[in-house]
Amino acid sequence: MNNSVSIRDLSLSFGAVKVLQNMNLDIRDGEFLVLLGSSGCGKSTLLNCIAGLLEPTDGQIFIKGRNVTWEEPKDRGIGMVFQSYALYPQMTVEKNLSFGLRVAKVPKEDIQRRIARAADILQIQPLLKRKPAELSGGQRQRVAIGRALVRDVDVFLFDEPLSNLDAKLRSELRVEIKRLHHSLKNTMIYVTHDQIEALTLADRIAIMKSGVIQQLDDPVTIYNRPVNLFVAGFIGSPSMNFLHGELVEEGGRTVFKTHGVSFSLDGYEAEGALTPGRKVVLGVRPEHIHVDNHQAGAEMHDAVVDIEEPMGADNLLWLKHAGHTMSVRTGGAKRFAPGTKLQMSFDMSVASLFDAETEERI
């Protein structure tokens, strides 16, 4: 049995609202799975179902091959970390960590040992005697992780654990969680709507929309070969540029044409047939557009700088081109004033082409 968590035909409705619909999902042992999706798509609901905090309307949940659909949260071998930390405010950190163990009547020395280990891993030994109110956000979240850690569980569930923290702390804790996963090798299911977190942490990402999983793949595949328009637009910040147009036969080759400008599709690995006349959407990521940088064989197009956003390490340009506004990522060193005219080229090998109707990848 190499599946740690399996979900079969899971459905959940709140009254008339169907939040999850017939979901199937297998999470491998030791895998770090990230559930990514916009607000209200049902990520927390799914996590709560796995944790046993919500009762599914239909379907089954297996953890380590055991059917836990109707079991109590505590018997499922899971630990959970919440966005708002959910530390017990009146207890010290130590008490917070040991609460579950004391409830379960684990022997004293055993509790001590486990707390020491968790404190060690998370480097919170100096905080053990403090109360949550006396901790910073990052420390609180570490304690919250510790609470799951001491329970020695098979599966860790994280519900947007970092979204209450500021950017700096977020990136720090992200690394720590990743490191934790490397050393513990537990199965982890991690809910977020921050794609940087998803891309950096995940072994596989499940992208959800209205209670349905759109794509379940490793980050690189998701980033470079999104299966549909939704996934493509959802992942990547600033998001992929979409150009609506159609496929046209030109000079014996099929090219993409929009607003009278045609783009060669050389280098694009199509999955379906590139039949001329098909209405399609071409998606290109900002970093796959090159400006003023003649590459071998690249086709150049004119554009005008609309806005420039320096982001430290690199620069974001908003270009106007044939009725589209496109974002382009360039190196941080070069600056472009608004109004500058320049030339750009697309890297077609990592572009995406979608059917305009089905929105599926071609």
């Binding site: 049995m1 599946n3 399996s6 079969r8 709140f14 009254g15 297998d26 009762e55 089954q60 297996f62 091959g65 059917n67 659909t69 109707w70």
Partner: protein, 300 residues
């Protein structure tokens, strides 16, 4: 995938059994006392029970008599006047005081204690003091007259036309402190940024309160409303302590009618009929509201 055997949904009755067991007192009280007692009352309002409940049914006789009784009509009128005025005034005064207290004033604690302390005193007690202060001979009227305004009259408890307002004065005195506390709590719960936004917009204080803050305090108003309104419907001590329903029957209230007919006149049926009418009125107002407020929406 083998070995993933489906499991059957366990009996819903036994899910979270402890919670259900722990709720038994509440369920018993709700069903056994409040619902059961109400139904019992309604059933016996159709009997001619006198001193003891007796199941001899007489149809709507008790109700006919009830509505023919001028005392009952007066009681209802009084309750309507008292109830509406008391609701309005205690809300308005309570809110005004809370708004004043919210101006970062000095001695806030002292003022709050002063406004709240009447709530700690029982009406057996305070009715007497008010009876006294409102006594024309040695109360406020007497004092003002002795200061030279010979024609000054202020005798609400002894004038049948205005006696209910006299009772209102004491009722407000006792109840507004609590309302003020509730409102103050509500005001403190308003997002600080709203105030700032209104100031930047140049909206005068009173308009901010009236058009922005008050609409935001809906939940507080609802809790307050339940607490005040339940007190109003049950008003009894206040009247007995101050006027015993007098002068004449000018300050009678329904709860007193019920009580007097049950125990004084020993006509339980009549008392029950009156309380059935009260229950009915309350139910007509409350049930749709309670359904919207507590039954309609769900929380996660």
């Amino acid at each position: 995938m083998t070995g993933l055997a489906p499991a059957k949904r366990p009996n819903q009755l036994f899910r979270n059994l402890t919670a259900k067991i722990a709720s038994i007192p509440m369920i018993l009280i709700a069903l056994g006392i409040f619902l059961g007692g109400s139904l019992w009352t309604v059933v016996y309002s159709f009997t001619n029970s006198k001193l003891l409940p007796r199941a001899t049914f007489v149809g709507f006789d008790q109700f006919e008599r009830l509505w023919a009784s001028s005392r009952w009509i007066i009681s209802i009128q009084n309750l309507a006047i008292y109830g509406i005025l008391s609701l309005i005034f205690s809300m308005v005064i309570g809110f005004l005081l809370a708004a004043l207290m919210d101006q970062k004033i000095r001695f806030e604690n002292t003022f709050r204690t002063i406004f709240l302390y009447p709530f700690a005193l029982s009406f057996i007690v305070t009715g007497l003091v008010w009876q006294w202060i409102l006594n024309p001979e040695f109360g406020v009227q007497g004092i003002v007259r002795s200061l030279g305004w010979e024609s000054f009259t202020f005798d609400p408890l002894y004038n049948p036309d205005i006696v209910i307002y006299g009772i209102l004065i004491a009722g407000l005195w006792q109840g507004t402190g609590l309302v003020m506390c509730l409102m103050l709590a509500g005001l403190r719960g308003i997002d600080e940024d709203i105030w700032k936004a209104a100031r930047v917009d140049g909206i005068p204080m009173w308009r901010t309160y009236l058009f922005i803050v008050i609409p935001m305090m809906r939940p507080v108003f609802i809790t307050t409303l339940v607490i005040i309104a339940s007190g109003i419907v049950k008003v009894y001590d206040l009247v007995v302590a101050q006027t015993s329903g007098g002068p004449g029957n000018a300050s009678e209230v329904p709860a007193k009618y019920v009580y007097d007919y049950m125990f004084q006149a020993q006509n339980l049926g009549q008392g029950f009929a009156a309380s059935t009418m009260m229950l009915l009125t309350v139910a007509i107002i409350i049930i749709p509201w309670a359904y919207l407020e507590f039954g309609g929406k769900k929380r996660g």
